[in-house]
């Protein structure tokens, strides 16, 4: 085996030649210092270490390599190269860490969003229920309370032409309110009662009153109220609300009354 000095000689010679090419220069020192400062910052950052440990380790390894090489003559290019790689690894670690932290936060905020959505749905539901109450109040304002029959909604004479059973369009507003009310109160049922004045034959009046009540029932069915919730009665000229002596009294007597059951669906007794 040759002595170590003999083996080392060509290497020493190479160093001498390389030493001429480049002493450690300012740019290299700067690159090294910059990479080192960057690395120190992430090395002590537990967030970055947690999210991107591999990149931090590689940044450290590259930096160590650059520092080791900086002890050799002629290795300026290599030092700068490894310093560059170290900085890139540091930047990659920082970027990965921010992305991971953002995704963590995204997940937490996603849960918060779901909670808020639920709260919003509940509050909207509450407001719809309040609105339902408003519709109910609107309809109830049109009704009167009769001692025997309960809630009664009266559709006046103006809704029909004289002697005719066809409903005029002006009835729509009230009937739509009633349909809405019945949809929100699915257990309530109604009885539609027709009345006339005393003009004309009693039999004709009975038929006319019944036809008018039926016209209202048909309209309600067309608007979506189930037939089984509707009873129809004709009372002819019975039960006048005013004396038939005056035109005004007769007009008031020509009417359709809608008797509304209580919430449980119990209707007042039928008139005999």
């Amino acid at each position: 085996m040759k002595p170590a000095s003999t083996l080392l000689r060509p290497v020493l010679g190479a160093w001498l030649v390389l030493g001429l090419a480049g002493c450690a220069n300012h740019a290299t020192d700067e690159a090294l210092a910059q990479a080192s400062a960057k690395f120190q910052a992430v090395r002590d950052n537990t967030e970055v270490l947690r999210h991107a440990p591999k990149d931090v380790i590689r940044a450290g390894e590259s930096l160590a390599r650059a520092e080791r090489l900086s002890g050799y003559w002629g290795a300026n290019g290599d030092v700068r190269h490894y310093a560059y790689l170290s900085m890139r690894y540091t930047d990659i670690a920082l970027a990965h860490s921010e992305a991971a932290a953002n995704l963590d936060q995204l997940q937490r905020r996603g849960l918060e969003r779901e909670r808020l959505q639920l709260a919003l749905r509940e509050s909207k539901l509450l407001s719809v229920q309040r609105q339902g109450q408003w519709f109910e109040d609107q309809l109830l304002a049109l009704t009167t309370t009769d001692a025997d029959r309960g809630l009664v909604l009266t559709l006046g004479d103006v809704l029909f032409d004289t002697g005719e059973a066809d409903l005029k369009p002006s009835a729509n507003r009230t009937l739509l309110k009633l349909v809405q009310f019945l949809q929100m109160n699915p257990r309530r049922v109604i009885r539609i009662e027709g009345y006339t004045d005393s003009t004309g034959a009693a039999e004709d009046n009975l038929k006319l009153s019944r036809d008018r009540a039926q016209a209202v029932a048909d309209m309600l069915v067309d608007l979506g109220v189930e037939e089984r919730r509707i009873e129809v009665e004709g009372y002819g000229d019975q039960y006048p609300v005013e004396a038939n002596a005056t035109e005004r009294g007769r007009a008031l007597n020509r009417r359709v009354e809608i008797v509304i059951s209580d919430r449980a669906g119990a209707l007042g007794e039928k008139r005999q």
Binding site: T6, R9, P10, V11, G13, A14, W15, L16, V17, L18, G77, H81, Y84, L85, R88, Y89, D91, I92, A95, H96, E98, A99, N102, L103, Q105, L106, R109, G110, E112, R113, L116, Q117, A119, L120, S123, K124, S127
Partner: protein
């Protein structure tokens, strides 16, 4: 003999790059990293990816000149440039998602305020 060895060593050291193996594996890694960056949506003209592309092009020229060491170093840097481009793009997207989520939450808070 010793003198000759010294000269040979010096020449070898000067021409050191020529003795480096062809960096096939590094070339593959770099190209993969560039593709990956493009796949997540990084633009070719965005800063770290543009660096990666120009360094990869330089590395190919170095390889053609059989300057393997310079090629390897350029490819190593290009790989990390591309990986940074990818990481930056993912980070940008996560920021956007978070901003969008925060906007939605703010809107929900506002709507809840309106309802109540």
């Amino acid at each position: 003999m010793n003198k000759r060895l010294m000269i040979a060593g010096a020449l070898l050291a000067l021409a050191g790059c020529a003795t480096d193996p062809v960096p096939d594996e590094q070339l593959r890694l770099t190209e993969q990293a560039i593709e990956q960056a493009r796949a997540v949506g990084a633009a070719d003209d965005s800063v770290p990816l543009a660096d990666a592309l120009s360094k990869a092009a330089r590395a190919r020229a170095d390889l053609a000149d059989q300057n393997n060491k310079a090629a390897r170093m350029a490819l190593e840097q290009a790989e990390l440039d591309a990986r940074l481009a990818e990481a930056n793009e993912l980070t940008r997207k996560s920021r956007e998602q978070l901003a969008q989520m925060n906007a939605r939450i703010q809107r929900l808070h506002k709507q809840l305020g309106d309802v109540q």
